[in-house]
């Protein structure tokens, strides 16, 4: 068997060079940390409860350092490992747990959000119309409401004389408006707004009474 060692050598060198460029770079400069994810044992938690946070590393040279942070609540020592225990604050809302992973070659960071439930009732204020206002029967009015909750508002409900008439989905702003609400019944009318919180479904409400002055519908 006649082997061409020269060709074989060139081919081997070319292949080896192609394959080992990145490895060579790693070999020379080291490998910076690469985080795969930050997992939490719970993503929704009651005030004062604890959860475990663990960062999973995909790649990187040892040794690595871990720097943990949070936007509220408390990290319970030790906080220098790949996992920590976090205690939720007493105030509900959205909080972030953050971690930065460092080695000699560089850093990588990630955060994860957790909801702390609030069992306080939503605050609701019916800002317009004013208590005791006068309206004409069948007149269309606008009802302005301010509503907030640490977990956000899931839904707002409008009751006229204790009958559910309309619902609005919650959003990030505290200001809501029910538009073109027709007042069909003459006499004193109770307008009640009920807000339901996200996560805990606690309820808050505000109400006023207005006067609806009766009319006989005019000729077309």
């Amino acid at each position: 068997m006649n082997i061409n060692y020269k060709k074989l050598l060139i081919t081997t060198i070319a292949l080896g060079t192609a394959l080992s460029c990145s490895s060579l770079d790693k070999l020379i400069n080291g490998v910076e940390p690469e985080i795969k994810n930050l997992s939490l044992s719970k993503y929704e938690i009651d005030p004062g409860d604890t959860l475990h946070a663990a960062v999973i590393i995909k790649d990187g040279d040892e040794p690595m350092q871990f720097e943990w942070e949070c936007t509220g609540g408390q990290l319970i020592p030790p906080t220098d490992g790949a996992s920590v225990v976090w205690r939720a604050p007493v105030t509900g809302g959205q909080y972030k747990i953050k971690v930065k992973v460092i080695n000699d070659s560089g850093t990588d960071k990630i955060d994860s959000e957790v909801t702390v439930r609030s069992y306080i009732n939503p605050s609701v204020s019916l800002t317009s119309p004013e208590e005791g206002s006068y309206f004409t029967q069948y007149q269309q009015i606008h009802i302005s409401v301010s509503a907030r909750h640490d977990n956000g508002i899931r839904v707002l409900r409008l009751f006229l004389n204790d009958t559910l008439r309309f619902s609005l989905d919650g959003h990030s702003s505290v200001d809501y408006q029910f538009t073109n609400i027709e007042l069909n019944t003459a006499g004193s009318t109770k307008i009640k707004i009920e807000a339901e919180a996200r996560n805990t479904s606690t309820l808050g409400a505000d109400s006023i009474s207005v006067n609806v002055e009766g009319i006989v519908v005019g000729k077309k």
Binding site: Y134, T136, Q137, Y138, Q139, A186, G187, S188, N211, V212, E213, G214, I215, V216, V217, G218, K219, K220
Partner: protein
């Protein structure tokens, strides 16, 4: 001789004094149209559009409230009622002219929201619509009336009439008060039949055609013979005369005359 001289001197002195004092007479009577500061209290015209032939009591409640309002301000307001057909109910006191009046006021307010009772104060200056109780209606009427009662008018009206069996011919003398000339104006006359035994119910039975006056100078008076109002057997007992702008949106002055 001395007496004669003294007599002549005193006559001349008296004459001179009279001349000087006459020349210096100031027109300080506020009711004198030639006084540049002249003015009158504005009598407020309240026009209620109602229908009393429906099963609801809203219109009657408003008329009761208007009755109370008239008792509170007897010298300062004139209340009239235009009866109007509704979508479902015919009112026998409906007249077509009142429909135009109603539409005119809605146009002034940019509204197409019809419904009775509907009350307009000094034209479309104020509007009070609907009633759920006579107390609430009275409260709202009083609130709306406040700014109108504070208005001062630059017009005064006097009326005479010639009455036959079938027609009434009003002769109106109109004066412009104050120091400025007026814009073009419209004079209108309402023929009223008062229904006793009910809430205030000065029902408009006929409306004169609009009479336009192009302009009045400060202090100027004009006397006009207005178009006839038809009695047609109506036992009318009053006229309401009022001045308004050419669009007939705002009333500037009104007065009444018993027949």
């Amino acid at each position: 001789m001395a007496y004669r001289f003294i007599f002549k001197l005193s006559t001349w002195t008296l004459g001179l004094l009279l001349f000087i004092s006459c020349a210096k007479i100031t027109r300080d009577n506020i009711l004198d149209p030639k006084n540049p500061d002249s003015q009158r209290e504005q009598k407020v015209l309240i026009e209620a559009f109602v229908n009393t032939e429906n099963p609801f009591e809203y219109n009657e409640l408003m008329l009761t409230a208007l009755d109370s309002l008239e008792r509170r301000h007897p010298e300062k307001i004139e209340i009239v009622a235009y009866h109007r057909n509704t979508r479902d109910e015919v009112d026998p006191l409906h007249i077509n002219e009142s429909e135009l009046q109603y539409m005119r006021y809605l146009e002034a307010l940019g509204s197409n929201f019809k419904g009775l009772p509907d009350v307009f104060i000094n034209g479309a200056s104020q509007r009070v619509q609907g009633a759920s109780s006579s107390e609430s209606a009275l409260l709202r009427l009083e609130e709306a009336l406040v700014p109108e009662l504070q208005k001062i008018s630059k017009y005064t009206i006097e009326v005479e009439t010639t009455v036959t069996n079938e027609t009434i011919t009003p002769t109106v003398t109109l004066a412009r008060l104050g120091s400025n000339s007026s814009p073009s104006l419209v004079i209108k006359v309402l023929l009223i039949q008062t229904y006793s035994g009910q809430a205030t119910h000065n029902v408009v039975r006929d409306i004169s055609r609009s009479t336009v006056i192009n302009r009045l100078s400060a202090g100027e008076q004009q006397t006009l013979i207005l178009p006839n109002l038809n009695l047609n057997g109506i036992p009318a007992n009053r006229l309401i005369i009022y001045i308004t702008d050419v669009d007939e949106w705002e009333v500037f002055q009104c007065c009444t005359m018993e027949l």
